[in-house]
Symmetry: C2
Subunit: 174 residues, 2 copies
DNA sequence: TGCACCTAGTAGACAAGTCGACTAGGTGCA
DNA sequence: TGCACCTAGTCGACTTGTCTACTAGGTGCA
């Protein structure tokens, strides 16, 4: 699965707890992958049993212990292999497009309500992505940094394409 | 779930067997939804037990019986409600972007191999979408037809955005 | 004083999706 | 003659993903 590889990728940058990972998934990684908390913890413990990660317990004062997961050499190797392996099958799935596909029987106004909704989520997504892009705009770009920003720019391009498509639909809708 | 609604949407156009549905999912609907065969048959039988669809067995000569699933009035009502209900949560998930995000440690040539792969699949997808769009290009557009083509144009816009992004990455990659 | 929210993690049930195998006949081809 | 592929469908095992609830203390605020 891909989740374990994404987790390995994040652990390769810095050791993390399940809790830390969940935050990464909800912020910096959310434009291309998402994960449920329970799923993250389950995957983490599998990485440990598979020898791809190791746990170090870090005691804290006033806070619960941190189970810091460190990537192992085997983990780095697995990650490296995945990066250059055959592409994972990817199925597009978009419930909004599913509605649009079948919305021929709706009133014009109902369809415009759907597109207006979509426009709002697209615009707020665009703002999030732009905000994430902003800090490093003029920074010296290492390759790693360039690649991370590239995924953001990918998201931005797609959101913009979506907004232009919405313009068209709202204009041409018979 | 969305699958049952997509199936209802397809049954609303014409009665179909699980087999027919599978073909639709692999051709005309595949740019926004996909489904496994077993999943389709399971969902169909749940639609029947829920009273949203009915089965008519059609005998054939030389071929297995067809279990034609017809949408019921209740099914149409359910579909209609879904079309205008609150938008389904939608999480973007793209394994390719996941790789790109973590590919900072790869060689330049390895990254270019990834993008070249992506370009190939994007281009063949574009051709498929254009081929699907072609037949009705100048047809008299009913609203239903317009909406179906709109989803195709959506896919085309996104693929084009992807190709432009690939151009950029391949050009700027440090 | 109580409520909401933060850190950190566990547990269990359930829904959704995937994969492979199996039945069973029909057609086309080399 | 045998193989591959088509129509039409069933079954079981398994993996992923989601949701809810729980423990247990700490902080901030009104």
């Amino acid at each position: 699965m891909i989740l374990s590889h994404v987790i390995l990728g994040l652990l390769a940058v810095a050791p993390m707890t399940g809790y830390d990972l969940k935050k990464r998934f909800d912020t910096s990684v959310n434009h291309f992958w998402s994960a449920d908390k329970a799923q993250i913890y389950r995957t983490l413990s599998r990485l440990v049993t598979d020898g791809l990660a190791e746990v170090k317990i870090v005691r804290q004062i006033g806070l619960p212990d941190r189970q810091e997961h460190h990537i192992t050499e085997a983990g780095r190797a697995t990650l490296g292999e995945w990066l250059v392996s055959a592409p994972d099958a990817h199925r597009e799935r978009d419930p909004f497009l599913a509605r649009i596909f079948f919305s021929g029987t709706l009133q014009r106004s109902e369809i415009l309500a759907l597109t207006a909704q979509r426009r709002m989520t697209a615009e707020s997504l665009l703002n999030e992505l732009l905000a994430q892009l902003a800090p490093g705009e003029s920074a010296p770009q290492t390759r790693a940094e360039y690649m991370r920003f590239a995924t953001l720019r990918n998201g931005i391009s797609h959101v913009r394409a979506e907004l232009e498509w919405l313009d068209e639909v709202e204009k041409d809708l018979p």
